[in-house]
Amino acid sequence: MSARRVLLGVLGVALAAGWVLLLLWILRTTVPGDLGLPHLSAAGQFDPADLRRAREFSRVERLIALGGILALLGALWLYARRGAVLARESAAGRIGTGMLLGMLGLGLTWFAQIPFGVAELWWERRHHLARAGYLAYVIQDFLSLGGQFLFACFALLIVMALAGRLGSAWPFVGAPALVGVSALFALASPWLIPDQHPLRDPSLAATARRFAAQEGVGDAEVRVQYVKRQTTAPNAEAVGLGPGRRVILWDTLVDGFPRRQVRVVIGHELGHLAHRHLLKGIGLSALFLIPAAFLIELLTRRRGGLREPAAVPLALLVLALAQTLALPLTTTVSRRFETEADWSALRTTRDPAADRALFRGFTHRAYSDPTSPWWAHALFDDHPTGLTRIELADAWEARRP
């Protein structure tokens, strides 16, 4: 057995052990394991008219999303079969040609998905959730491809350079390197979000500071993003790692919901920061990327592996397929994070009534379906359903000291 094989074997075992440890760390949660959720009926918790509208709205949204996934896979399947001929449009050498093929693949998926994006916009405009015009949407979506192109080029530069040097062993270094890139992106993301301003309501700002200190993330800032021109839907997110981490509330939420409910959202997002869900999300991407990288290497071997630009279109298809197949896993983990953040918000705010009202409000205003069919839940729901979140509030109240 050659030294190289031994080294690869050791690396493989270390990666497998790391994979298991990472999965255990990601799945750890502060939500009590013996928590039995009460079984509530949606009809008893939500206004019947809201429930009907939300179900109708979500049904079409899910169909559009499914169509988008199928179009994406179809376009990439065609591209994997025919795309390699586009290498003739390059004078850029091995890696440069790979970059071109990668970018063109993303461009084709944009073409394939834009009708579904427009259909979704139409549906949301019909329900007064979106305000963007069609042309503005298409142009903005097209321009956002620029960022994707740059990221794809950077990723292909790393992967193809490593594949040139290490051959089929590139995933051992390439996958961790790509995870590092996504960590860098997460680090920079707080400064990449446009139209942010500080929380202007002094009492809400004081509450946010108090909650942050309570959660042990006193350095985290709460800011507001101006999105009213594009949408009426309420939303919020926790972004960043380390010193730049912050909570971003959409102005549609801050201006459209009662203060008590906004406090719940702040508590929820601070919960994400306190429980390091962003870091765990990067870990989750590592869990996904490492086997995906080996799968890509295995399936592109007939085309010379990722050393050769001709393998890039096929690699894109494999990556998209792997991502699609991993959806049930990633949504499950995401829902686990969200449940923990909800639990955290309940502990911080001690206001389960506001919590319930908030999720009823989401169904009323944003047509969020509180009960999804199982397949849609598995594929698309990265948050618990509204009904589950109300059940969680009840469970917390039942345990309240």
């Binding site: 586009l86 449009e89 390059s90 004078a91 850029a92 050498g93 890696i95 440069g96 040609t97 970059m99 071109l100 970018m103 063109l104 461009g107 084709l108 097209f142 491809l145 620029g146 192109f149 740059l150 080029c153």
Partner: protein, 448 residues
Amino acid sequence: MEGLEGSPPAEPEPGREVAAPPVRLLLAPDDLERSRLTVFFRALLAIPHFIALALYGLAVIFAVVLAWFAALIIGRVPEGLHHFIARFIRYVTQVNGYLYLVAEPWPPFFADRPYAVDLELPERVRQSRWTVLGRLILALPALALSAALAGGGASFSGGSISGSSSSFSSSSFSGDFSSGDLVTACAFLAWWVGVLRARAPRGLRDAAAYAIGYAAQVYAYFLLVTPRYPDSDPLKSPAAEHAEPHPVAVANADDLRRSRITVFFRGLLALPHLVWLALWSLVALLALIPHSLGTLFGGRAPERIHAFLSRFVAYGTHVNAFLWLAANPFPGFTGEPGTYPVEAQLPMAVRQNRWITFFRWLLILPAFLVTSALGAVQFIAGFLGWWAALVTGRMPEGLRNLSVWALRYNAQVQAYGLLLTDRYPYAGPVVTWAPPGAPPAPAPLPEG
């Protein structure tokens, strides 16, 4: 027209729609000498012509409206109207030639005799009624390009068709160059050179002559004198007959074929290159410090830094050729010579004049004016070429050659600014590559 280039127009066959001959710019041989006095007062001396042009222009507005209706009904412009409008275009061209220092003598009024910068306009021919009906829309791309080349020269605003004269007279001597068109930039610089040295620089004169010639083609098309669409190819202009030997040139082996998908995403596909070029620019700026010191004190550029900066200029040319559709393939990231169809040709490191090196930062400023004007032209050519290539899968040759001209001038400016050569950038449309020490090239490089 004694002393003018060109041949008499062919007789049209009556009653048949024939392909119209081109609108040809005619340039008399020019010794490039200029009178300092007439150069200094050039815009003021042209005032009588501006007045005559304004009056003539008012009449032409009515003539064009009549000609448009007539061409729609009978399929051709009545002879009298055709000659009336054609003569106006000749007059505008002559006055522009004088105003922009392309020619020296004071022009005749109303184009009643030949001039050093003149036009050969086609006789009237039958015109397709559809193209007559949509002439304004069809002319828009050419008008946009003409605006970048000759500024107000192609505008018909304010109720008078006054050519570019009014825009020049109101802007150039008040120091306002907001129009930023090529002919104004060239004329402004030529004015200074003319006042100081009593000569017109060949390159600036040829560039301005080309711009005036293109604007004249646009007038002729727009004002229904010809159904022939303006040809933007600078290599077909008589202004391109002189090929200046220069140590920085651009070799062009592009075949005009374009991949529609890479054309559609061209701007986004160029992004990684633009990021890389920006990073490379920072390093090039740092490298310029030892390069300047070495060239200034040693009299000759340090070889390694010279090679590095040459690569940087070559790479920038590749990227811009790709971005502006002067070439088809996705370029490499190293600027390696021999890898791209549109390629900067640069000189080896040779001894340079220390005075020119010392004052390089100041001397380069006028060239920036021309490069910015040519940049605007390249932008329009790229935009129009984008649509054409998307539809036909080919880049129009004229637009490609225009873009290559801009690339070449930009490469010369960069090479001059980065001390790769002490030879000043040449603004005219054509150069032959003549690296220092090499025997003179026998023929112009095929830029088209």
